[in-house]
Amino acid sequence: MPVFDNIPALLVVLPLIASAIVSLLPSARVAWILTFVVTLLCLFMAFELVDIVSNTSSFSYAFGGWEPPWGIVFVVDGANVYLVLLVAFISVVSTFYAYTILAAEIAVEDLPKAYSVWLLAIASLFGLSMTGDAFNLFVFLEISALSSITLIALGAGQDRRALLAAYNYLIIGAIGATFYVIGVGYLYAATGTLNLTDIVDRLNELGTNQAAITGLAFMLAGIMVKAGVFPVHIWLPAAYSFAPSAVSSLLAAVATKVAIYYFARLLFGIFADITLLVEFFLLYILMPVSIIGIFFGTIAAIYQTDLKRLFALSSIAQIGYITLAFSLNSNSGISAGFIHIINHALIKGSIFMAIGIFAFCIGKRATMTSMQGVGRQMPITFAGFVVAGLALVGMPLTAGFISKLYLFKALFETNNGILVAIIAFSSVLSVLYLWKIFEVMWLKEPTKPLKIEKEPIMAYLPVWMMVAVIVVFGVYSNDIVMSGIGAANALIGAN
């Protein structure tokens, strides 16, 4: 069917067009319905895409019939098809969740505009995960940054600090994007092309080329800012904690993941032939930085009292686990990284959603003091939150355990006992902050009687949808593992 041939383009174009329409709609409810329908369609198309790629292994879409390397292409293969599916799934779930929670956090007359930017963000995430053109990626990066910043700034209705957080993200994100585009410039000067597949061929012909290496260094640095890798994560904690809850869940789940995917593609797909640089970078830069990031994020989270900020810090640690897996530079390491990209998106997305519901029901920010005894008053949300928390520390029968299983497998293959010990220790530390929250929410008595609203079903349903997926992936892990291994094979096989 002709529609199916155009799925990669439609995944971006459909939310883009809808975004324009939604901004003109007068009613918040109609805007939400249109947004939700569009994300559902995207999910449907993403499943279709998985189907196509599982048959043909790679699917390339040339815009306007301009064949690569001249035109812009979208490439979908084993490495990013599940990422597209993830983005589509998270968009549906968090849009569903936004119905009550986003509506409660920002003014009604702003809602259609908010959904418009929301769709823009989703479109850019799809674009980022599929584009096969280095400069086109920069364009999507900018769309993604600007729409995310707008969404974060919407949190100002709740807490004025959202504006500062958005401003910080704007500045730091712009620096990151500049680094990236400078890198692309160097690369273009060296190779004369922007098409990623073409770049691989040209680099092969060139051999060692200083301009290309400089370009790669700039590009990696720029993408690391976007991915929230320690130590260039500084925009992330404030941005996640002051954004409206629905936005936090969308951004925390997929925005950084898309950048990490591209980071991996650069390292293992595009520049893998510049082995000297890549190996140096992985071993002497990425690995130490990941380990420090893991401990920084975890320890900072232990001392944090604001729940959203706490889990934003935990995200930095979790991103550290993903980049650590990549830094092992082995097939199983890359698989483990991709498995954790998906699992962590599901886990962190559901956690941010649950915190949003807590805050909504007590009418205050979720902190260690305001949350005392709330768990017992809101059992449905709290139960989902606990399962997601268990997944975060990697308890068996949750998706987090599968991530851990494969990360440790990759670590053991390096025969580096100290590394294994460090990571095992860090995972025990992460139990601490979750235990602290459990104690506050379940065991402590509230200081004064709580006025708690009923848990809205439209809000906890999406949390439980995610939690169900987390448990299914933990019990029946075959699909998720195959997606990770497929991604690693697609990247390594591509060069």
Partner: protein
């Protein structure tokens, strides 16, 4: 599915069904409280059938789906697992009857929640017993920890919460820090985690790593309460006595030593372990734990605390047997799981019965209580004899085999450890009985009679006695553990 597979499923699922029954009949206490004993009886019958099939040489195996390459969600009954399954399900029958008497007698709150988690914990223990590979064992090990947490903190007092924090802190952190990495290490080098006679480690596994890997298991399996990670067990004694009796004398701690024994027999293989000499240090750690905790037990005046330290000491008998890694020692260790379980559950039943009926917790207050609760103290006396290892009580067999194993392993020092330990046992276990029968009461204590708390210890004490003569029912299983 074959008949045996159906029976295996029954023995695993029935505790969960019983847990659901507890929830469904929460409003009808009499129906709710019968769920446990009925579940216990059905599970036990299934466990007996499984054990007899294993003795006949059948394979009892069910594989549901694949978790990871080379690892499936499966249950595969080893001879050792069959023994542990018998112990857990059989003692559950009596413990659940006792629970009813205790909880009603002492008027505890939230009895439904208590009964629910109790049954879930038994499910986890049964699944540990019958687990098909090391990862399954780990998964249910964690589930057992989590399902017993609400039981430990049942009273919801500040003391209970602190104990719960220590309980979770030690058990979860050791398992994540050491146990899980050890499991994954084995998986990475062997490509499988199945339990096989003679072990699964590749033959080129460097001998110098053996002590490290063994240490990761021995200290990672915190439920075995090897010193210095034993602190959670005395802390867990804040729980109502039925928890201490079944879980912290039988299901949880035995799951710990069962795991260590399983690892030595089916992952390392006793021949490999013996030849490598990598377990000698563990024998010394176990010996230290045996003596040190016996000495601490003497200093405890609280009856349950004394029994807790006695448990720590006795658990290390089993760890000692595993680390000696000779046929007789391993058989003795497996037998000790049964013998110690029946004897120690009796002691805890008695401690709880004394508390519910006479409201006495401390040993110094037991004076003259014997004639008022004669059956309780006679049961206590018999169980003590079994733990000391005096014929004609079941415990004498396991101690005898452990001693024979120490001789085989050419570690005569361990004979001395076991002998000294027996003397210490005599001192700290017989003191309560002597006080109760031969000292005159200091003050008049009002004694009630809750029959359901008195019958179970008498039965378990009788079982301890019967096991001396009926050891031939279990020995075929222990023999299967060590045949080539």
């Amino acid at each position: 599915m074959s008949d045996l597979q159906v029976i295996l499923c029954i023995s695993l699922v029935i505790p969960l069904v019983s847990a659901l029954g507890v929830l469904v009949f929460a409003k009808y206490p009499n129906i709710r409280d019968i769920c446990g004993p009925i579940g216990g009886i059905i599970s036990f019958i299934a466990a007996v059938k499984i054990a007899s099939s294993i003795i006949q040489g059948d394979i009892v195996y069910i594989s549901l789906w694949q978790i990871a390459p080379g690892i499936s969600f499966s249950f595969n009954v080893t001879p050792l697992g069959a023994i542990f399954g018998l112990v857990a399900s059989g003692l559950w029958i009596l413990a659940s009857i006792y629970t009813v008497g205790y909880m009603r007698g002492s008027g505890e709150k939230n009895q439904t929640r208590f009964a629910f988690y109790y049954a879930v914990a038994i499910h986890a223990a049964m699944a540990i017993a019958y687990s098909g590979n090391l990862l399954m064992l780990f998964i249910y090990y964690e589930i057992l920890t989590f399902s017993t947490y609400p039981l430990v903190t049942h009273s919801q007092t500040e003391a209970a919460k602190n104990a719960g924090r220590l309980y979770m802190g030690i058990l979860v952190s050791t398992s994540l820090l050491l146990f899980l990495p050890a499991v994954l290490w084995v998986w990475t080098i062997s490509g499988t985690l199945d339990f096989r006679q003679g072990g699964i480690l590749p033959s080129d596994f460097p001998v110098i790593y053996v002590p490290f890997l063994l240490a990761m298991f021995a200290f990672g399996i915190g439920k075995a309460a090897l010193m210095p990670i034993h602190r959670w067990l005395p802390a867990a004694m804040v729980a109502p006595t039925p928890v201490s009796a079944l879980l912290h004398a039988v299901a949880v701690v035995k799951a710990g030593v069962f795991s260590i024994l399983t690892v030595t027999v089916y992952i390392f293989g006793i021949d490999f372990l013996n030849a490598s000499g990598g377990a000698i240090w563990l024998a010394w750690v176990a010996a230290f734990t045996i003596l040190a905790s016996s000495i601490i037990a003497i200093s405890k005046n609280d009856l349950k605390a004394r029994l807790a330290y006695s448990t720590i000491s006795q658990l290390s008998y089993i760890v000692l047997g595993a680390s000696l890694a000779t046929a007789a020692a391993v058989e003795g260790a497996a037998l000790h799981i049964v013998m110690h379980a029946t004897a120690k559950i009796t002691l805890f039943f008695c401690a709880g019965a004394i508390y519910v009926n006479a409201h006495v917790k401390n040993i110094s207050d037991l004076d003259g209580l014997g004639p008022k609760l004669p059956w309780v103290f006679i049961a206590f006396f018999l169980a003590s004899l079994s733990i000391i290892g005096i014929p004609p009580m079941g415990g004498s067999w396991s101690k005898f085999l452990l001693m024979a194993g120490a001789v085989d392993a050419a570690m005569p020092a361990m004979l001395l450890v076991l002998a000294v330990s027996s003397l210490l046992n005599v001192y700290y276990l017989l003191e309560p009985v002597l006080r109760a029968f031969f000292k005159s009461a200091k003050k008049d204590i009002h004694v009630e009679k809750h029959v359901l708390t008195i019958i179970p210890p008498v039965i378990t004490a009788a079982i301890s006695l019967v096991l001396f003569f009926a050891v031939d029912w279990i020995m075929p299983l222990t023999n299967l553990m060590v045949v080539q």
